[in-house]
């Protein structure tokens, strides 16, 4: 079968992303396409609208710090136990990006509407929060099926592409994602599908058995894929490798200042230095 889906590198995938694109990205633990993210920075893409599903960490931080982001739609930016996203904080303080603060289930629900290609979806909660007050695109209506029941409507989110890193693709370009079904949600809601990096390509058919089919993103949702070994680094990847805590420490020291962050980009993004090992 044709392997027309397969590109030579993460940078070739990055070249498919135009300035101003709306990109869906996942949380730091689901399989984050960090090498592809570094490719976007090397390419110098500008004015991205990042939709974090439902939040982000280092991926959003690097793109913001590198000046690639125009709009950030997210429920949070956090490194968890691994430090502080200094460039995110600095960008908000300076008003350098437009922030669309959300809550996790709102992003999931709006993507679900995007997946169905319906214009909006209702969601509980939110009423009385300042999130709602600062989101003119969210509206409160009266439940048309019951009395005295105000509820929020969210417009659908349809990203241009979803960015995903996964353990492997099969020979036909189906992607093994395991239990992280939001990666499929992101890919399906996206107009162009997913740009996927994988650790490897295996000469198997993921759809041949129930054991793997249930954890598979079918190739029809994949715009293109490329092999990027340790492509989630310095984040971890499920069964394959853990986050690189030492690297996060180093990042935290450098990213406190714009100059330190520029040194970080030069060393680890432009000159492609990886872990010390």
């Amino acid at each position: 079968m044709s392997q027309d889906w397969r590109l030579g590198s993460a940078d070739a995938l990055a070249a498919m992303v135009p300035d101003g694109a709306k990109l869906a990205v996942g949380t730091d633990m689901v399989g984050v396409a960090m090498e592809l993210t570094r490719g976007l920075i090397r390419q110098g893409v500008r004015n991205l609208h990042l939709v974090c599903v439902p939040m982000s960490g280092l991926q959003a931080e690097l793109l913001i710090g590198a000046g690639c982001v125009g709009t950030l739609e997210t429920s949070a930016v956090s490194f968890g136990e691994l430090g502080t996203p200094h460039r995110f904080q600095a960008a908000l303080k300076a008003g350098a990006i437009r922030i669309m603060d959300a809550t996790c289930p709102a992003i999931h629900a709006a993507l679900e509407a995007g997946r169905k290609n319906i214009p909006f979806i209702p969601l509980r909660g939110l009423i009385g929060s300042d999130l709602l007050r600062h989101r003119p695109d969210w509206k409160v209506i009266d439940n048309p099926f019951a009395a005295n029941d105000p509820i929020v409507l969210l417009p659908a989110i349809r990203p241009d592409f979803a960015l995903i890193h996964a353990p492997y693709a099969d020979r036909d370009g189906n992607i093994f994602i395991g239990r992280r079904r939001e990666l499929a949600e992101m890919a399906q809601a996206s107009i162009g599908g997913a740009l996927v990096t994988v650790e490897t390509v295996r000469d198997v058919d993921l759809l041949a058995t129930e054991e793997t089919a249930a954890g598979t993103l079918p190739a029809i949702y994949v715009a293109a894929a490329a092999v990027a070994e340790r492509g989630a680094w310095p984040l971890g990847l499920a069964d394959d490798y853990a986050p690189d805590e030492e690297h996060f420490r180093r990042y935290g020291e450098l990213a406190r200042t714009p100059e330190g962050f520029a040194r970080y980009l030069d060393e680890f993004v432009h000159r492609r230095r990886q872990a010390a090992e």
Partner: protein, 249 residues
């Protein structure tokens, strides 16, 4: 380590607040609530007859049985399948409004925290939300939050089967009265005083006529916390355990 540490007292207090729960979820970066929930699960399993407590720790692959992606926790909460959840806040006010976004003229926040996470949804839907913030100071416990990530219960006709039951800090436990929309000081942790709580709280609160001392774990329970509970929570929060329970790390 023979006495009761601050963390052990909080873990024990949280486990007691989860009494009777069938299903508990714990958010990201919450090692003490996670350990408290593990202790509650241990008690349920040791009860006669033995009960299962379904525990979900977000950010953990090991302590998380969800298979439908990140949306599943929120759908479960809407279905009534999550009995208890934990929320914190960079600021918390006397009406139990919480701020996880930041300080300053939004969106130009001079202090920016990660963001609201799932709070603006789960706060309305989970029946037993436990507000948990270790730092008890006037910069956290404020008269009015700068930004409402999730509003405390209010009579606005909004669908709200859930809400906060109270606020646990390094100093004390406040119960929250959803009708009066006020906190009531219930217990003060050993070694602390009412005056200290008042000095460090920026909002008005009621006080029970006689305020008890927060109960801590007995020595058998301390052994459980330091042994199996610490070992289990290390799978989700290795850094926390290496700092607080080095023997179990």
């Amino acid at each position: 380590m023979t006495g009761v540490s601050r963390q052990e007292l909080l873990i024990f207090a949280i486990a007691r607040l989860l009494d009777g729960c069938r299903s508990v979820a714990v958010g990201a970066s919450s090692p003490i609530p996670g350990a408290g929930a593990l202790l509650a699960r241990h008690w349920a399993a040791s009860a006669t007859p033995s009960r299962r407590l379904f525990l979900t720790i977000l950010g953990s692959r090991h302590l998380n049985a969800m298979t439908s992606g990140g949306v599943e926790l929120f759908d479960m909460a809407a279905q009534g399948r999550i009995d208890a959840f934990f929320l914190g806040g960079g600021e918390i006010d006397g009406e139990a409004n919480i701020n996880l976004v930041g300080i300053g003229p939004y969106p130009l926040t001079t202090v920016r925290w990660p963001g609201s996470f799932g709070s603006a949804y789960l706060y309305y839907l989970v029946p037993r939300v436990i507000l948990f913030r270790e730092e008890h100071s006037r910069r956290v416990m404020v008269p009015r939050v700068d930004f409402i990530s999730a509003p405390g219960p209010r009579p606005d006709g909004v669908y709200r089967p859930g809400g906060p039951i109270g606020l646990l800090t390094n100093l004390c436990w406040f119960a929250f009265d959803r009708q009066r929309r006020r906190f009531r000081l219930e217990t003060i942790h050993p070694g602390h005083t009412l005056e200290e709580v008042r000095d460090n709280t920026g909002f008005d609160f009621d006080a029970a006529p006689s305020i008890a001392t927060t109960t801590g774990p007995d020595s058998a329970t301390r052994s459980v916390i330091r042994g199996p509970i610490a070992a289990e929570i290390a799978k989700a929060y290795p850094r926390f355990v290496s700092q607080v329970f080095p023997a179990a790390a």
